[in-house]
C-alpha cells in the first residue's frame, strides 16, 4: 500500500509535536494524567486531518524516572499491507514518555 510509508513519516512528524511538550515538563503527579489525555487527543485530531480513511489508536504512557524498570511489548493481528503502527520514546530528567500509534484501513 503505497500510502503507508508516507503516512509513517507524517505520523511521526505529528507525534513529535508531543516531544516538545514533554521536554519542557517535569513529572508532576497532579498534572500528568491531564498531560497524557491532552497528548492523545491532540495526536488523534492531527491524524484525522491527514486522513479519515483509517481507524487510529493512540496510547501515551508517562513514567516517572526512578529505580524501577518498565517493559512494553506490542503484537498485532491485522492486514500487513494496509495497517501498521509506530512507536516513539522520549525522556527528560524526570520522566519517560512512550507513544504508540496504530492505524487500520477502513
Amino acid at each position: 500500500f503505497f500510502f503507508s510509508s508516507r503516512r509513517r513519516h507524517t505520523r511521526c512528524r505529528e507525534v513529535s509535536w508531543a516531544r516538545r511538550w514533554v521536554q519542557e515538563t517535569a513529572y508532576n503527579a497532579t498534572d500528568v494524567q491531564g498531560c497524557t489525555n491532552a497528548i492523545t487527543k491532540e495526536i488523534i485530531s492531527k491524524l484525522k486531518e491527514i486522513s479519515t480513511n483509517f481507524k487510529y489508536i493512540v496510547t501515551c504512557a508517562i513514567m516517572q524516572k526512578c529505580e524501577g524498570g518498565l517493559h512494553v511489548a506490542s503484537t498485532c493481528f491485522w492486514s500487513t499491507s494496509t495497517d501498521g503502527n509506530c512507536a516513539l520514546r522520549w525522556e527528560n530528567e524526570t520522566l519517560y514518555c512512550i507513544i504508540t500509534v496504530s492505524y487500520t484501513h477502513l
Partner: protein, 116 residues
C-alpha cells in the same frame, strides 16, 4: 415458503453481518487476556533480564488465542510490565474508530514485585 418470509430471512442475515460488535465478544477477550497473563507471570518475580521476553510472550499468547475464538476482528495487543517501586506512571489512550463495532479492554494484573 412465502415471499415475505424469504425476504425476512435475507434481511435478518444482512443485518446480522452488519452487527458485528466488539461488545458481544468483550467478555471472551477479557477472559483470554486474564488467562494468558496468569499463565505467563504466575509465581514470577520482576526481573530486568526476563521482563522483555515476558511482555513479548504475554502479548504473543493473547494475539494467538483470540483469533481461534473470536472471528471478524483485527486486534492489537500492548503489554506493559512495570516494576513496583516508588515511581508514578500514567497511561492514556485515544481512538478514532467506529463506536458501534469497535472496542478495547484493559486487563490489570499484579503481584508483589510488578504490575502488568
Amino acid at each position: 415458503v412465502s415471499t415475505q418470509s424469504t425476504w425476512d430471512l435475507r434481511k435478518r442475515s444482512i443485518m446480522a453481518a452488519d452487527q458485528v460488535s466488539f461488545s458481544k465478544v468483550k467478555q471472551q477477550v477479557e477472559d483470554i487476556a486474564k488467562a494468558c497473563i496468569e499463565e505467563e507471570l504466575k509465581n514470577k518475580n520482576y526481573s530486568a533480564k526476563d521482563g522483555p521476553s515476558w511482555a513479548h510472550n504475554v502479548s504473543e499468547k493473547i494475539i494467538k488465542a483470540i483469533p481461534e475464538k473470536v472471528k471478524d476482528f483485527k486486534f492489537t495487543v500492548t503489554c506493559i510490565l512495570l516494576n513496583k517501586s516508588e515511581s508514578g506512571m500514567h497511561m492514556s489512550s485515544s481512538c478514532f474508530w467506529n463506536a458501534a463495532s469497535d472496542g478495547s479492554i484493559v486487563e490489570k494484573w499484579e503481584n508483589d514485585t510488578m504490575h502488568c
